[in-house]
């Protein structure tokens, strides 16, 4: 009995499905043949969405990946900072489009001559989005949370950037910050254990943004990571994971007259081409991560504009100096002569990049602009190889990056181009590639011979490029060339503890000369990451560090 009812129900369900399609034979018969057309509604019914002229001013930004979390101190990835930059402020900030330090939550500061005490005078009348006051106590609380592993709101995995920039945590041998005192509500005093030249520079990094102590305490570390509360120009509203993050205007923002927009939506669209389609069709207002190849199409489109981010990165070909024959500087120099940088930039960066001479870009102070790069010359390369005792060349493994990075749009193709030139001087390069995480792991362990990699700067300090990539202390870490040069090491260490910028600059200029001469790596290019936006967007000032506050951005009337 039951069975029959159910089978009848099944049949009628099927029949219903058929009915829904319209059982008329001839009508359905047309359908499969013209299938895509019948799926689309009439054109007039749905004009492309445009922001309403009188409605709220909202900016929809398309990007490739979602944020990991929104508590800045817990994060290390660029996509997270793109959002937190707008919700939080740091004690000091960076100038538009440069890494020069400017006041932010701290209006001014004094540094003691011995470089051990920093006194910050805080902006008054600033409130967190939850209505609590921003003051010296709040600053003190944030630093205690970051530095003290036993603090209840310290993360079990640690705060990686704090650890790296300030020599570990409270009680560690190299920890930089001895104490933070609230002198009065508007004054906070930092005492250091040892001078740290880039101290102020570091404080401007996105991760050291000041969070509302009350909000962190009430929500706990994990929940705060999804519901951030800061003092920034925009207030966090909603996060739909892998889809959108919505921020709304902070009407009480301390920088009077800003922000200009009412709402910002960060929308995740993983595919580069689809993101550009969404921009062209008006679903989003701007996008980052433009394929270099699409730059021309954006320039040609009157409704769009191309926005170039100042470069703060380096893509390079490294030599593991512990492997033969790369331990011979002459061999390394020969290979440097055989790499045609301008041709690579032309072919693979679509012109959005400049040939690199030093491991750090010209946008960073201390860049040595006096070094003249080697010209591409296969003859010269061949001659050096002969001098080094390899007149017929040699065989070598060339590790190529498996993924696209801003500093290296297509690792394998670039490696193939270099391979062709090396062949002409008798060097047989076998291209090796593997999955990205493995690649990083193995190059860290020093298994590679010749390899490619790159770096994007964190804070605009030369130390963040030169020491990070080439100091002997970082072998086993980010110095994957395993280059251990005593002269360079001495200079780099001196520069770390020097107190004046002039002194440091002099030291870095020397280090770059040593690097150029000894060729542990061939700097290839400083790429210029490109963004595309509607032509009506103005005052978008992309920052070299990869994220920026959008308080000044607005739509042209």
């Amino acid at each position: 009995m039951k069975k029959r009812v159910l089978s009848a129900a099944m049949t009628s369900l099927l029949a219903l499905a058929m009915l829904l399609t319209g059982c008329g034979g001839s009508q359905t018969a047309q359908k499969p043949a013209e299938q895509p057309k019948t799926e689309a509604p009439a054109p007039a019914a749905t004009p492309a969405p445009e922001p309403a002229k009188s409605g709220p001013k909202q900016l929809i930004i398309g990007r490739g990946g979602d944020s990991v979390g929104l508590d800045p101190i817990q994060q290390t990835d660029g996509e997270s900072f793109k959002v937190t930059e707008n919700v939080f402020d740091t004690l000091v900030g960076y100038e538009e489009e440069s890494t020069a330090v400017v006041p932010s939550l701290a209006e001014k500061w004094e540094i003691a001559p011995d470089g051990l005490t920093y006194t910050f005078h805080l902006r008054s009348g600033v409130k967190f989005h939850d209505g609590t006051d921003f003051n010296a106590e709040a600053v003190k609380w944030n630093f205690e949370r970051w530095s003290d592993k036993s603090h209840p709101q310290h993360n079990k995995e640690g705060f990686e950037y704090y650890n790296d920039m300030f020599g570990g945590y409270k009680g560690d041998k190299d920890h930089v910050i001895k104490s933070v005192e609230a002198v009065d509500p508007q004054t906070v005093k930092f005492t250091l254990n040892r001078p740290l030249a880039p101290f102020i520079q570091n404080l401007g990094m996105s991760c050291f943004a000041i969070a509302s102590p009350k909000a962190v305490q009430e929500m706990g570390v994990e929940k705060f990571n999804e519901n951030p509360v800061g003092t920034g120009p925009f207030v966090f509203k909603e996060w739909k994971r892998n889809d959108t993050i919505t921020l709304e205007k902070n009407p009480n923002y301390w920088n009077a007259g800003f922000p200009k927009l009412d709402k910002i939506v960060f929308k995740t669209i993983p595919e580069n081409t689809a993101r550009l389609t969404a921009l062209t069709s008006g679903e989003i207002d701007m996008m980052d991560g433009l394929n270099p190849d699409d730059a021309q199409a954006v320039k040609d489109n009157q409704d769009l504009q191309l926005i170039l981010r100042p470069s703060m990165n380096i893509g390079f070909v490294g030599f593991n100096v512990e492997k033969k024959p790369l331990d011979n500087p002459k061999v390394r120099e020969a290979l440097a002569y055989a790499i045609n940088k301008p041709a690579i930039i032309e072919a693979f960066f679509a012109g959005l990049g400049q040939p690199a001479v030093n491991p750090m870009p010209p946008s960073i102070w201390g860049h040595n602009g006096n070094i003249k790069d080697r010209e591409f010359s296969l003859d010269k390369a061949k001659q050096l190889l002969t001098e080094a005792g390899f007149p017929n060349g040699f065989k070598i493994k060339f590790w190529a990056m498996p993924v696209a990075r801003p500093y290296m749009p297509d690792g394998v193709k670039i490696a193939e181009a270099i391979q062709q030139d090396l062949k002409k001087i008798g060097v047989e390069a076998e291209i090796v590639t593997m999955e990205w995480a493995t690649y990083l792991e193995k190059t860290k362990a020093g298994e590679q011979e010749m390899f490619m990699l790159g770096w994007t700067g964190d804070n605009g300090d030369p130390d963040n490029f030169l020491a990070t990539l080439l100091d002997k202390n970082n072998i086993g870490g980010n110095n994957r060339t395993r280059w251990a040069n005593e002269d360079a090491h001495k200079l780099l260490m001196q520069a770390q503890s020097a107190t004046t910028k002039e002194e440091r600059e002099k030291l870095y200029l020397q280090v770059q000369e040593i690097i150029f001469k000894d060729v542990p790596m061939v700097p290839l290019a400083h790429s210029t990451p490109a963004l595309a936006a509607k032509a009506s967007i103005i005052n978008y000032k992309p920052h070299p560090k990869g994220s920026e506050s959008l308080e000044k951005v607005e739509f042209k009337e």
Partner: protein, 336 residues
Amino acid sequence: MALLSYSIRRILMLIPVLLGMSIVVFSIIRAIPGDPALTILGEKASPKAIEDLREVLGLNNPWYVQYFDYLKQILSGDLGVSLHSGASITQEIGPYLAATTELTIVSMLFAVIIGVNAGILSAWKQNSWFDYSAMLIALIGVSMPIFWLGLMEQWFFAQELKWLPSVGRDNSRNPVEAITQFYILDTLLAGQWDQLWEVIKHLILPGVALGTIPMAIIARITRSSMLEVMRADYVRTARAKGMAQFWVVYKHALKNAMIPVLTVIGLQTGLLLGGAVLTETIFGWPGVGRYIFTAIGNRDYPVIQSGILVIATIFVLINLLVDLLYAFIDPRIKYR
């Protein structure tokens, strides 16, 4: 009675299947090269930080300890915590699963409605121009790369014609307030008709991209199954009685022809759930396919394990449902 005991036996069989699945998922993930701690912390991490994190994550324990810990956890309904975002997977996976389910349902509706009808008509008008062209389209449909089809759809319907939106689940300028996370349901509940229309429009392009392959397969199976049934005696009898061709096809033949089709529909639905990665990537769809895919890139072990396990469980359940439906539809099938 036989049916009931069959059903119970069939359901009990799920236990070893699911257990086996959890072991397979667990081992496959361990076979991926690369250290999750390094991947989480990124290329800028110090060796000490990596070692500390491995300890915190229990990655230094032997694999069987990790497996039993994991099993204990899921049995208590806890899918673990994402290494990447630090959020609970049980909570996090909900919206993704809803997004994918909604897309899958739309795709399957598209595939079943078009596929079954095209198949029926092809069989009915065997060797006609319609039959040939429908089967040609089905052949193209099966061999069409989803990636290419998706990008072409976007280029044509979103960029050139501007008829349909190219990405996402809703219009970001007028976002849907999520209640159940099923946006069609949510907009209906809220009575937001303009938003409902937006949600439907957003479903069309990815729905067609995802539904094209199953549509083609269903069309072919329906056709051959129908052809077989139409030659059966009882259909000939129905015809001889002077019944209209339409009723012969839709009332008599279809019911029996549907059995193999039902299998295919069940299988394809399961496949869609897991195979939505490409479609979800191209169309910026915040679904579970992309959730797992991103997790693989991040070596987010708990998410990969739990995500695949959830998908596989749904797949198994759909197949169970199909098997049980057979028993109801076709009394001739005997189960032991």
